[in-house]
Symmetry: C2
Subunit: 176 residues, 2 copies
């Protein structure tokens, strides 16, 4: 899919998914896109676990209280390592956000839908701890987000965006 | 450009730029791609100022002590508003990182080069304050990053990436 088309088509899908599977090759391409994102001082603080085992997906999914987590045939669990870029300056949040955005666009480009689920994962420390136990994640990694992946059953509701002129300008704040 | 090609081609360019201008329409498309990124609870905390005024670009560029800021014909100044997604939970760092990643990919897809400059902008509070003065940015917005935009004069050095198997797995940590 053309890049700008993928950007336009991507949105946070909170509906049901079809049962048609996500090919392992597609899941790999999505993960590769995530890892290709830049990271502060090239620290590569982001890691990912692709899920396509239905039992695991059900177990992880029941831990996350989000309307966007209906059972999808695949999912991605996003991990971060809190390593400084330099001195005591950390970019790992920016790093995983850029990786997630790459993956959401890749998911869209391959004809799937997803939703960036973060607050419902990290809001209660028990949830990442439980996910960590299920997926054998070492303590130096933190679970920060969850992305279901699958073919959308229907069309979801797109959020309203403010007009361009309220958020972007040229050569000075408020100038169009 | 095809989405996965843009992901593969994008890298942090730290070389010189050709003087050939960036069309205003291209700069607008890049900004639009940035604003199309998701934001936590759709708070749309990211704003951007596109720069194509050579005098302004020179003035802003001299404030930022980065080897990646050689004079480019255009640039983007990225702003954030620290507004909570809900309660006291903030996603504005994730929001602007996703917007920046969209813009870096858009820049690549249109045949330009760029580099995500953040630490050299925010590391010294005098720098965003000075940029804010130059661009009339209100105090409720913070300058968080700067992206030069232009045609690369040559090929830059690409960072080394860890192999896939060291950063991504299937159905459990470390499992391939």
């Amino acid at each position: 899919m053309e890049f700008f088309e993928a950007v336009k088509k991507r949105y946070s899908y909170r509906g049901k998914y079809r049962s048609s599977p996500v090919a392992r090759g597609d899941l790999q391409k999505i993960l590769e896109a995530g890892l290709a994102a830049p990271s502060g001082c090239n620290t590569q603080t982001t890691s990912c676990i692709g899920l396509d085992d239905p039992e695991l997906i059900r177990s992880v999914g029941t831990l996350i209280k989000s309307s966007a987590v209906t059972v999808a045939p695949a999912a991605i669990c996003v991990l971060t390592q809190r390593k400084p870029g330099y001195a005591d300056v950390y970019f790992n949040v920016q790093d995983y956000a850029a990786a997630i955005e790459n993956m959401l666009l890749a998911i869209t480009a391959l004809g799937y839908a997803s939703c960036w689920i973060e607050g419902q994962v990290t809001g209660d420390p028990k949830i990442p701890a439980e996910i960590g136990r299920l997926l054998n994640i070492p303590p130096e990694y933190s679970v920060v987000a969850y992305l279901p992946v699958g073919v959308a059953e229907g069309e979801g509701k797109r959020p309203r965006y403010k007009p361009f002129a309220e958020r972007a300008w040229f050569n000075g704040f408020g100038k169009n």
